[in-house]
Symmetry: C2
Amino acid sequence: MTIPGLMMQQPLLISSLLVHAERHHAEQEIVSRRVEGDIHRETFRELAARSRRLANALAALGVKQGDRVATIAWNGYRHMELYYAVSGSGAVLHTLNPRLHPDQVVYIADHAEDSVLFFDLTFLPLVEAFASRVKTIKKFVVMTDRAHMPKESKVPGLLCYEELIDAASDAYVWPSFDENAASSLCYTSGTTGHPKGVLYSHRSTILHTYAVALPDTLNCSARDAILPVVPMFHVNAWGLPYAACMVGAKLVFPGPALDGKSLHELLESEKVTVSAGVPTVWQGLLAYMDASKLKFSTMRRTVIGGSACPPAMIRAFKEAYNVDVLHAWGMTETSPLGTACAFKPKHLGQSQEEHYAVMAKQGRGLYGIDMKIVGEDGAELPWGGEKSGELLVRGPWVVNRYFKDEGGNPLLTDADGHGWFPTGDVARIDTDGYMQITDRSKDVIKSGGEWIGSIDLENIAMAHPAVAMAACIAAHHPKWDERPLLVVVKKPGAEVTRDELIAFFDGKIAKWWTPDDVVFVDAIQLGATGKMLKNRLRDQFKDYKLPTA
Amino acid sequence: MTIPGLMMQQPLLISSLLVHAERHHAEQEIVSRRVEGDIHRETFRELAARSRRLANALAALGVKQGDRVATIAWNGYRHMELYYAVSGSGAVLHTLNPRLHPDQVVYIADHAEDSVLFFDLTFLPLVEAFASRVKTIKKFVVMTDRAHMPKESKVPGLLCYEELIDAASDAYVWPSFDENAASSLCYTSGTTGHPKGVLYSHRSTILHTYAVALPDTLNCSARDAILPVVPMFHVNAWGLPYAACMVGAKLVFPGPALDGKSLHELLESEKVTVSAGVPTVWQGLLAYMDASKLKFSTMRRTVIGGSACPPAMIRAFKEAYNVDVLHAWGMTETSPLGTACAFKPKHLGQSQEEHYAVMAKQGRGLYGIDMKIVGEDGAELPWGGEKSGELLVRGPWVVNRYFKDEGGNPLLTDADGHGWFPTGDVARIDTDGYMQITDRSKDVIKSGGEWIGSIDLENIAMAHPAVAMAACIAAHHPKWDERPLLVVVKKPGAEVTRDELIAFFDGKIAKWWTPDDVVFVDAIQLGATGKMLKNRLRDQFKDYKLPTA
């Protein structure tokens, strides 16, 4: 029997991040490009006071602890205030993804039983499209001031955010409660089946925040200015709104303006040092900067996750702009960060080319996250091997089961009785512990019983100067069962032939991995979180006849 | 009522640091200068395997969960193995300070009810001096191999560490238990009254480790090589043995060789990037390097805490050796780190002189630690004011009460019902949240009802080129009650008069703070943790007649 330690018992609560930020970094700024078009600035002192007002306003709206409060909003200070006021008061912040179809929003809001919805002006048409259909949302709050409130709306009784804030007192003491209480809720995008809700706790969020801010993860300090392009409506913007308060970093929110020009202006004017987002966002920025011959004055790091970052993009950031890409991996179910690709001492003396090879991987597991890869029989595969396997993870910020899905525990239990979350990603792990996603398990191409990783093939194709986007999918083959088919979007004005592209794979990969054919399309559809919708492509090409068949 | 989150429940256990280090940083090294004189190297893989063997060996010795296992040892790999094997198996690691008098060791070992003692060869004479007097220690293990075992000893039945390891299997699964279980025990040096035991928990240790490794704290990454001069027998070497496993940093242990020459050799040969220790250790190193005209090739940061670091030392490190001093504050009761002095963005454009002024402070509170200063009436004093007050702290790695001291809860309870630990330190906090210790409350000089901070006066005296060490104590004064008396040790061969030293304070401090007199002594005695024993000086000068009296 162990004996109890004698240290203070304090629950790990999200509100303590805000209290810390106000007390130690009161003058630090949150700068937001607003939906209204202008640039807004507030200090952490103002953030804290307005969050306390908002907590009082929530109570006045009838929100109780445990209630779900929904948002449909861009990255901005009002969304940040909701992050702290809702979770801090013991209610649950439910961030809705505005890129979803109204039918999906209705399903999710009903499933979550949201009671109040806060939304940015931009999303009024979306809200109008579903407001009469949601069952539990009784109050709709527009995140703007009186002057910008819609003159009329199909949604009756619209409330005004700034009026709620103005009417509330800033005297509010954040309540103390069990650190395992739910803090926030995010639904997976759900390309198959219904979206599923991940219910984060205060404890999981604080532990994740510590891990996110570490030097070998996102390396956040009080001297950083962080611009999260990754949306606050998707897995808490990778925890950056929390990490900024933990360390006192400046936050720069781009609002709805995610085009290259707007992003570059904000990165420069606010002296941003680090940004974070999915690869597709950066394509627009890099294309704009390339065309306009622009550079970065202060930005030296960018965190890329959500999808595998094409090596060509890592190279472009470094060689043209002297920006180090930090490749990271995670998912809604992992809060999200699971790995980050920081160097080990052995890499320090290596060449830039060797560095690129490391940087192309999603990186090492954060302390707190255990990971392993398993074969189709569930047996663990060795690190450093050639074989990819399904990635399983566990840790205090990994989902245990989905919200209100009592029967559907997503965990696998291993021989030692440990529960592991099956990520649905297929990966290799090298001897140094660097994990590299080779595929989604549903996207993997099974050729003659062996797996071909579609991401490896896409990365090679993306390195061709004429290729804007590439997806590799399985096409039916009478002998091999499946063979790779490369679907390509060409860059505007660029030309490349099928044979040139196939020849481009020579020497870059095992011969039998080479795609059997190439088709050119005008566009590849992206999902709500910026990922290529490969299931759509598979549907489109399900009867495609390979020339090798 | 909040609702429970749905994330995995995993206890925060020290063993998970070792598992992580083995899995992700198996090849990283722990380099130790041994008591036997040579340099020893082992990898994290070997550390993990030997710690598992040791856990089996502890079980074979009859050690059960909750039992206290004592060490008297330098910084080295065997001590590191004990850190993980003892705590990881659910027993309690009790690090004894070898600089204590044998009577104190007996008191502490009996109070802790230690069952086994592991000690370095160096300490055989000390152990022989008390072994027959301790009540509960039944087994004595020398941390060496058979070849170096003492031929004979007054301690009967001495066991050999390497024989225990060799005899044990490396198959061991770290047990899972409540994260609030006790992990380690450290007694305060106790200049007054009996030493008091602080019983850390696994949870407090892991949370502290996250905070320690953050960029604005000790900024630990896998690319660092860390040399903790701060002893592992004192507050867990500031958490560095844990942080190194969390991030995969190389550890370099100096063993007993803390002289300037030995330290410099090791810092150079092992390419150390960051070191940590109390100011008195660095005096020896800097004096040696100055005399030998040496530089550092790789070391760029040193963490100084334990006592206030004299500004002259911060300047010497920077100007002569291009090393940034990171000033930190903590105590046994705070695990230990409470503050660290990293810059804010506002400092980035400032001059070196302005930087020195910031670096002289002990720094900003880590996220997780709340701090405040209170006046003699217990009321909170404002930040940014002139007045110092007693420093109170709270947080999940702050002591709640001392071990087996049921009646003596050290906490103060404020009006909101929060428990605060009274540090006994007197401090100011500026508007940016940087805390600066001005005194220990028992050392403060009360002149005409106002407080004079002895550390401010000592720092000024230490900046004089002829002064090796300076202590400022209260001397009795018939009118003002107390007035400052400066006690000075001159540098070898240097000369300075009383009047010159008093004139040296001109313009550096309020006139009425100037010491009333100076006495020169040959030496000032240091306590077991390297701090000046001012109570001894007060005894010595208790009848001193000031010329102003």
